[in-house]
């Protein structure tokens, strides 16, 4: 896990002279990880990906892939081990899925025609293989884009907002697919997203970027630990006002009412039972108790201001 598949040092880039779009970015993507690259829209995620793949010329700094500096000499060798899906997939919509895959396979040269059918199977598009891409839904296009990036069995797959525009079913399928690839083949996967929940469910590592600067980079587990010890609860009851006054006697922190739900912070999971007991003693009916995701707030506090 120590070997870094992607590493950038002091990476700087500007589209215009008066604004730095990427500033001293130090990206470290360990081998075998699913790395979530998180940031609000316009924070520089796609720009960073373009810099990693050599689509943009960096102003200064270095990009190394598989421990090798990315430059004119190493370009072909390095790109051979990478599959990418950058923003909207580049698909020739007047052609069918097979032709689209054939084009990428021809460019890459060493890909057998059976592999084309294999990747179609992996992304579940075998039934639509002869349909023109024009007739595909957004989710199908996204999956075909992924199939193209899988063609060469790459060691690193870079996916820029892969769940953009997908419906919930599509998102779950994509998530499962990403995890499977990582588990079965040990493929390192680099995903950019502006959705924390997405990264949290899929990734092992996370990097948070804002205004072209890296704000946080570590494992997802460490991020969760850093969010503080208190657990935030959200409780739905039939009589919220009475519930609030009953709970105030418990001397717990930060009790409030939000949209008819009681919000309360407890120090440990054991205290959740105490809260429920107090409410039940007052004959207040409880409909649901849920633990709120504090990561969301952490993400907002990191990326706002």
């Amino acid at each position: 896990m120590n070997q870094l598949v992607v590493q950038t040092k002091n990476l700087n880039f500007s589209y215009s002279k008066n604004k730095k779009d990427i500033e001293d970015l130090e990206l470290k993507v360990p081998k075998g990880s699913i790395y979530g690259f998180l940031g609000p829209n316009g924070s520089g995620k796609s720009t960073t990906i373009r810099l990693i793949l050599g689509l943009l010329k960096k102003n200064s700094g270095t990009v190394a892939l598989f421990g090798e500096l990315f430059n004119g000499q190493s370009r072909l060798k390095v790109l051979n081990k990478v599959g990418g899906l950058i923003e909207n997939p580049s698909l020739y919509e007047h052609l069918n899925a097979i032709d689209n895959l054939k084009i990428s396979a021809n460019y890459r040269q060493n890909i057998s025609s059976s592999r084309i059918f294999e990747v179609l199977e992996i992304v579940n598009l075998t039934n639509a293989k002869n349909k023109r891409v024009k007739e595909y839904s957004l989710g199908m296009k996204q999956r075909l884009g992924l199939a193209i990036s899988l063609l060469s069995n790459p060691e690193l797959i870079i996916l820029d907002e892969p769940t953009n525009g997908l419906d919930p079913k599509g998102i779950i399928e994509m998530r499962t697919l990403i995890k499977d690839l990582n588990k079965k083949f040990g493929t390192t996967i680099f995903i950019s997203s502006h959705l924390l929940s997405e990264i949290e469910k899929t990734c092992t590592h996370v990097g948070i970027i804002r205004n072209g600067k890296m704000l946080y980079q570590d494992t997802v587990a460490s991020l969760k630990e850093s969010k503080g010890t208190n657990i935030k609860l959200e409780i739905e009851v039939d009589k919220p006002i009475e519930g609030m006054s009953a709970l105030k006697n418990l001397k717990m922190e930060n009790i409030s009412l939000l949209d008819g739900f009681i919000q309360i912070e407890v120090k440990s999971k054991n205290e959740i039972t105490n809260v429920i007991d107090v409410l039940r003693t007052e004959r207040i009916n409880i409909y649901q108790v849920s633990i709120k995701n504090n990561l969301e707030e952490l993400f907002l506090s990191l990326t706002e201001n």
């Binding site: 373009r50 793949l53 790109l79 580049s90 460019y107």
Partner: protein, 261 residues
């Protein structure tokens, strides 16, 4: 992997991409356009066009057609076909995908340029076949036109078409670069069409326009015997090839360094 393999893979792919595109149909439409107009003209003007005894009707039919259509039409056709072929890539965001594949950028640029040249060559071929067929068809229907009694001097007309084709090379280099460089279809198309029209106008002053690539197509025909020669070769041919080589190399170097957004 050798450069040749990359280049042939690129060519193969460009052919797949042309499937079911308007660019593909444009080669056929452009090729049959003038022969159809000539059939119509010959039908209506038949009485004045019946040749005197012993005169080969193909000579007038072929020369009038080639000299009056290709010089003006070919520059515009090149502007259009080049933009259309590159639009396949721009429309589907292909460049960013192609440039992240383990393929030299040169094989992509020159592979595509080769396909543009091939499409133009094929159009010339279709055009020649279409003229011949239209002559034969007229000969069948109107025996007095005499097309079936003589055979055309193929070598002479093919030479005329090759001269016209080579004179267009300069524009191919420029237009291909522009079409690759700018995603917006309007830029290469507007620029090219404007210069193609200017080229036709300024070709009236051959001494100056002999350095203007968009006039070469007209000059290659209009100058005839007066064409200045360089080492015994038509100067328009030489200038056109030099313009093509320079713009192709500089175009590639420019594209290679381009930021793909």
């Amino acid at each position: 992997m050798s450069t040749i393999l990359y280049y042939t893979a690129s060519l193969k792919n460009e052919l797949i991409k042309l499937k079911r595109t308007f660019a593909f149909w444009l080669t056929i439409i452009s090729a049959v356009l003038f022969p159809i107009l000539f059939i119509v003209a010959y039908i209506f003007e038949r009485e004045t066009l019946v040749p005197a005894a012993g005169i080969n009707p193909w000579e007038k039919f072929m020369v009038t057609q080639i000299e009056n259509s290709t010089p003006f039409f070919i520059p515009m056709f090149i502007v259009l076909i080049t933009s259309l072929i590159m639009q396949i890539e721009h429309k589907y965001l292909g460049i960013k995908h192609l440039f992240t594949l383990p393929v030299p950028k040169s094989s992509i640029y020159f592979g595509k340029l080769s396909i543009v040249i091939l499409a133009i060559m094929v159009t010339y071929l279709y055009y020649y076949i279409a003229i011949l067929l239209s002559g034969v068809l007229l000969g069948f229907v109107y025996q007095d036109l005499g097309f079936l009694n003589f055979s055309p001097e193929h070598l002479r007309y093919i030479k005329m078409l090759i001269t016209s084709f080579v004179a267009s090379f300069g524009i191919i280099g420029i237009q291909f670069w522009l079409s690759f460089r700018f995603k917006n279809f309007v830029i290469p198309l507007g620029f090219g069409m404007f210069l193609a029209i200017i080229g036709i106008i300024v070709s009236q002053a051959p001494q100056q326009s002999i350095y203007f690539p968009y006039s070469f197509s007209v000059l290659s025909v209009s100058l005839g015997e007066k064409m200045p020669l360089i080492f015994g070769i038509s100067s328009v041919t030489i200038f056109s090839i030099v313009c093509f080589l320079i713009t192709s190399v500089f175009g590639y170097l420019n594209i290679k360094k381009l930021n793909i957004k």
